[in-house]
């Protein structure tokens, strides 16, 4: 056995590691760190790399050659012997929590070269990026469950994977970690570039080239000047109380309409999806009313409700309600039949099935519905405020148009965009909070 001098081939090793099953998901930075922490070791044909029962501290990645891997006694495995080729990993006993001895014997079948990594340093490197680190650990776990049936060992791996999870950051530290990771990814910069291109095109079209039909529009500089001005020409800016009154009134209307729609729509949707009979009574009416655009309800809303506030809230509610109820119903219908059957087998009553299967099972669809519902709430709010109402962002936009305060129109629109985005994000956050199982599932799939 001899330790080879470090060559300049680290990049090749990184590429090799990237091909290797457990490490496919790992970022290049981390792979380089792993290669950096490893040593290159050569073995002659017939060399025993390690014996069964030896103390295990290192993990091996085969670079070249072939290695025979024979499991030791007690490893009730499907295949006792395997021949490993380049790119394959062996010696993962080094990663087990309290299993610091070799479970197998490895022998070089020909002259071999290996990358040798100390198990503890590997764990430390993987902890730098806990999310991918966890995926790597769970892949090791899969490899081990595939090879072995000895329950204690399998349990060992899983507790290890679990430990890595509980060691994840929490609270503010987690938020900071995610933020710094986000800042290191290209995403924020692409986003800024996108914004810059959009505003740049607007600026050029309106203020520089003064394209036909565009010259009527307020340009970004005049809007920004107005928005940030202490004494706005047209009366609305960040420094006027009227601006905040408009925002407050609109947010309040959306909040009331959206909450009412949620409180009534989710139960209705759950019952529609759960009871075939109820659906037969109610759903045809529901489907008949649903395609009627909210704007068509405006006259009726004004006749039905007194005052300026209630008709607007009613219209917001109506649009939200359909979206929430329909998606909730689809959510219940999307639940796999076997979950119902399993819970009846396990002795659950009808109410318990409703509580433990129908409600959580429909949750992903419900939150999709609430996202849509929030969108249509703002949509119908502005429509309603343009027709009736006093104050509110929709009213501000429409009123600015009739009184020829063009920059104020843009201020109103941009504010709607921003407030709408924040409310949608709040709904998404609430969904993630209530559906940890889904967040974790998606994270493992690499989609989060």
């Amino acid at each position: 056995m001899q330790v080879a001098a470090r060559t300049g081939q680290d990049a090749d090793y990184t590429a090799l590691l990237k091909q290797s099953m457990p490490f496919q998901v790992v970022s290049n930075d981390l792979l380089q760190a792993i290669v950096g922490a490893s040593r290159r070791v050569s073995f002659k044909r017939g060399d025993v790399i390690y014996e069964h029962g030896e103390h295990a501290s290192d993990l091996y990645v085969l670079i070249a050659g072939r290695v025979e891997h024979v499991l030791g006694p007690g490893a009730a495995a499907a295949n006792i012997m395997r021949v490993l080729g380049p790119g394959e990993v062996f010696g993962w006993a080094a990663l087990l929590k309290s299993q610091p001895y070799r479970l197998a014997k490895s022998t070089a079948l020909e002259d071999c070269e290996c990358m040798v990594i100390d198990g503890k340093s590997l764990l430390r490197i993987l902890e730098r990026e806990p999310e991918t680190g966890n995926v790597v650990m769970s892949r090791f776990a899969t490899m081990i469950t595939r090879d072995f049936t000895v329950p204690q060992w399998v349990a060992q791996v899983h507790s290890l994977a679990h430990r890595a999870q509980t060691q994840q950051l929490t609270g503010i530290a987690l938020t900071m970690f995610r933020l710094s990771k986000w800042l290191r990814s290209p995403r924020p910069y692409l986003m800024v570039t996108g914004f810059a291109l959009f505003i740049g095109a607007w600026y050029l079209a309106v203020e520089v080239w003064k394209l036909p039909r565009f010259e009527q529009l307020p340009g970004p500089t005049s809007v920004l000047k107005e928005w940030l001005s202490k004494n706005p020409v047209y009366g609305t800016s960040l420094f006027t109380p009227e601006y905040y009154l408009d925002i407050w009134v609109s947010v309040r209307r959306v909040a009331i309409g959206f909450c009412l729609a949620t409180v009534l729509g989710i139960p209705l949707g759950l019952i529609l999806g759960w009871s075939e009979k109820f659906k037969q009574y109610v759903f045809p009416i529901f489907e008949m009313l649903r395609p009627i655009p909210v704007l068509a309800w405006v006259p009726l809303a004004i006749i039905m409700f007194t005052g300026l506030e209630t008709p607007v809230i009613f219209l917001v509610f109506l649009a939200s309600f359909y979206a929430t109820a329909l998606n909730t119903m689809l959510g219940v219908e999307s639940i796999d039949e076997s979950y119902f059957r399993a819970s009846f087998c396990l002795g659950a009553s009808r109410w318990q099935v409703f509580r433990h299967v129908v409600m959580p099972g429909a949750m992903p669809y419900i939150f999709t519905g609430l996202q849509i519902s929030m969108g249509v709430a703002w949509f119908s709010l502005v429509a309603a405020e343009m027709v009736s109402g006093e104050y509110g962002l929709g009213y501000l936009i429409n009123n600015s148009y009739t009184t020829v305060r063009y920059p104020t129109i843009i201020i109103g629109m941009a504010t709607l965009g921003a407030v709408g985005y924040v409310t949608s994000a709040l709904v998404r956050l609430a969904g993630d909070y209530l559906m940890q199982w889904r967040v974790r599932e998606l994270a493992l799939g690499g989609n989060a």
Binding site: T145, R146, V154, S338, S343, F344, G347, G361, W437, R440
Partner: protein
């Protein structure tokens, strides 16, 4: 070929609860007015505590039989009894599903929104047999026995499919069922995981000997696990041949290379192949 006499060397299933007596069961499906005979006067006795493997071509109606025992479907005539008590029969076409007969599904039915521990404890908590705390205690114990410690607080979506299947079997055993009904539980697994699962199932079974009604169309699986292998005819479904697997339990994977195992395989392959050809000719939908 039914074996009439019972030699002493026969692998005797442990005597206990969980005898299923299926008598002259008929099931007709009637989609769009076209009556399809799925199960035709099927009679079968399943001994208490045995692993009874049901083999047949895809879509032959074996799942229909399982659904009738579990209480998901009604039967048109005939009766099914469990330890003498009528599950379904004249005047009661559909059995009520209950924790004495628990199904483990083909694609798994662990609730993805509950942690593994909550899943395993689900039965006793729902039935009010144990308080939540005691149920969790028992669940932890049973999971430790099955080598599943450490996964309690994971969600099923975070586990490998092999581990999920084992958790599901533990969830069933938490209820002290008389019968486990397994509907091709390992169909979606790769062959390596499958072999691990078979030994794990036997290990759990030796500790908790319940009657196992196991549907498969993997002959190797059937002979490796079963005390008896029942080969079903293609639709309509009824037993064509019952094979006693006279290889003593406890078994491990060494059995696969035993000469007796190959003999039994040969004996089964012919019968099954014949039915598979019939099913293929009839163009049955898989399922």
């Amino acid at each position: 070929m039914m074996r009439e006499h019972v030699p002493d060397s026969r692998p005797s299933a442990p005597v206990g609860k969980g005898a299923i007596h299926i008598e002259q069961v008929v099931k007709v499906y009637d989609p769009d007015g076209a009556a399809v005979l799925a199960v035709d006067h099927c009679s079968l006795d399943i001994r208490p505590g045995e692993i009874c493997m049901i083999v047949g071509p895809s879509g032959c109606g074996k799942t229909t039989l399982l659904n009738a025992i579990a209480g998901f479907h009604s039967v048109n005539s005939g009766s099914i009894r469990l330890d003498g008590e009528m599950l379904c029969g004249p005047g009661k076409p559909k059995a009520a599903p209950g924790p004495d007969r628990i199904v483990v599904f083909q694609n798994g039915a662990l609730f993805p929104w509950k942690t593994v521990l909550e899943n395993v404890a689900f039965g006793p908590v729902m039935q009010g047999k144990l308080g939540r705390k005691q149920a969790y205690e028992k669940a932890r114990q049973m999971m430790a026995d099955a080598g599943l410690s450490g996964t309690e607080h994971n969600y099923p979506g975070e586990l490998s499919s092999g581990v999920r299947r084992r958790v599901e079997i533990v969830r069933a055993l938490m209820n002290d069922p008389k019968v486990l009904l397994l509907d091709e539980p390992y169909r979606a697994l790769d062959s390596l995981t499958k072999s691990v699962m078979h030994e794990a199932l036997l290990e759990i079974y030796y500790k908790n000997p319940v009657t196992i009604f196991f549907i498969t169309h993997d002959l190797e699986e059937a002979i490796f696990l079963g005390h008896r292998v029942v080969i079903m005819t293609t639709r309509p479904c009824k037993p064509k041949k019952i094979l006693d697997v006279d290889i003593p339990h406890p078994r491990d994977y060494g059995v696969l290379t035993a000469p007796r195992f190959r003999e039994l395989m040969d004996e089964t392959i012919e019968a099954v192949h014949e039915e598979a050809i019939k099913a293929f000719a009839a163009g049955e939908k898989e399922g």
